[in-house]
Amino acid sequence: MYKYDHFDQEFVDRRVTQFRDQVRRRLAGELSEDEFKPLRLHNGLYLQLHAYMLRVAIPYGTLSAAQMRALAHVARRYDRGYGHFTTRQNIQFNWIRLEEAPDALADLARVQMHAVQTSGNCIRNVTADQWAGVAPDEIEDPRIWCEIVRQWSSLHPEFTFLPRKFKIAITGSPNDRAAVRVHDIGLRMHRNAAGEVGFEVIVGGGLGRTPMIGKTIAEFLPKQDLLSYLEAVMRVYNLAGRRDNLYKARIKILVHEIGADEMRRRVEAEWENLRDGRLRLEPAVVADIESRFARPVYAGQPADSAEVAALKFRDKAFGRWMQANVVPHREPGYAIVNVSLKPEGEPPGDASAAQMDALADLADAHSLGEIRVSHAQNLVLPHVKLVDLPSVFRRLQEIGLAADNIGQIGDIIACPGLDFCALANARSIPVAQRISRHFADADLGHEIGDLQIKVSGCINACGHHHVGHIGILGVDKHGEEFYQITLGGSVESDASIGTIVGPAVSSADVVGAIDNIVRTYLDARQGEERFLDTVRRLGTTPFKERLYAAA
């Protein structure tokens, strides 16, 4: 966990004071909505269908138990008793009152949280692998670099009015869990031939109206050059990115239009002016940031627990949960517990205040006081002793968060959709809920295996439908909700954009269509083949033929 220094805290406190005055002036009629809107958006406050929505940053998806309790408090005191964890590792509160927003932000500032740069055309919250620092396959903890990028990009005067929003993700592992190929900039840490750790720099990825897989413009960027190189990328984008058309303003369009080679050339030309200047990251600076991360202190544990191993066979529910939700930890005797926020039939990513408090208590008791948020809208208890797993499981059962479906068909990503969002064309959450109920049989879920369904309620693709193994996009056809289905997307190291399988299906038919697609897969798969691999082997044709044969 990164601990604020005096500067960080003063910055956040002053921002609350400033925003409180801006809200006061707005309520008094001294500021018009046109004047106020950019100010509230700079503080993560949107106006949605039913109320103001506050998006709170959870930098790189890491939070403390105390911070989780503060989120529960905000949910209870200022909202309707729940919050929605997002695909950007943030949390949104859907029912905030403008007049109370400064109080909510003041309460959050007390636990080193804020909503700065969760909106607007700036560099947004930097995201990372939810297993950062604990994954056995990790080369280096990416959060140190996320924090360096956060400090560099926060209120950066040059990049406060970019052509469009800008999202950066960093993975420190060869197995990408941070979706780095679909971000404006993705950074993948890896070792070069000399054994040094640096970054592959991927630019121009993104979803939305024009989905693109990012292009690599630097194979190996030494660590000390990270900020100077990023600044060069941002300058090229800030100058050449299109401001004439909202839909063509993201860096992906620029990279697509000029090509990766020209992008690289322009960035390197700019970088020549910057690389050995003030942005060069000296080891002492990096060490200072690193020292602000309180590293977990593990108690020496036996590497195995015969008791837990036996319980997996004795207690089928526990065994299934272990198989789907619990993964190995780099520290012997510990495990990473993924907490699914996708209980059968519930809105994906939602947690009640009571659940948040209970998770905070669990984290204090069993996870060194730490919790993570994943881009799949789940939570993680990152440091659980193997011997504690049975009691953690029982407690999760009690609070309704023991769904054993991580990475499976029930683990659906869904944006808020038309039930909440001012941009949406169709509902997302009810579709996810219906699919979740339809495939609720846990044995079936395990038999189907790794299958990611992602649902977006409009082309902006907050539900990442393009990179779902099965993607579902809500569209409005003459006032009726229809859903366009794509197959074969992936957000991991083998990132790909899904292919539209055929004409959109009606809301009434969408669950049947997903069932049909899953049956085609179960009939066609070879051995242990994953859904995605079957689609890649066969293409969409057999799925399409069977899906539309019935029609």
Partner: protein, 105 residues
């Protein structure tokens, strides 16, 4: 819900400035969170007058972003024609985690 895009009846809606709640312009010139309290306008001239009044309240920092919606008389009062406006008027179609059914604000 495939219906004609425009209806003879319109109401003015907006979000209330201080809390963002969905509100409808009433016959007495106020704003109510209950759509059954909404004033309805028939014909272009009346609709333009209703919108102008609503926009004045936006200028006066009472509401944000007023616009007209198509409505029809229903069994229990007015019913917006579009799904989006029904969701605005009556709340999300899905129960929320840990929350009872949506009360009117």
């Amino acid at each position: 819900m495939a219906r004609p895009a425009s209806s003879a009846l319109r109401a003015a809606t907006a979000n209330r400035l201080r809390d963002g709640a969905v509100v409808f312009r009433t016959v007495t010139g106020g704003w109510s969170s209950r759509i059954e309290d909404a004033e309805t306008a028939q014909g272009e001239a009346e609709a333009a007058r209703l919108l102008a009044e609503a926009e004045r309240d936006a200028t006066n920092a009472v509401v944000v972003g007023p616009y007209l919606i198509d409505v029809e008389p229903g069994e229990d009062g007015l019913l917006p024609l579009s799904l989006r406006e029904r969701i605005r008027a009556f709340g999300p179609t899905t129960p929320m985690v840990g929350v009872e059914a949506l009360p009117y604000l």
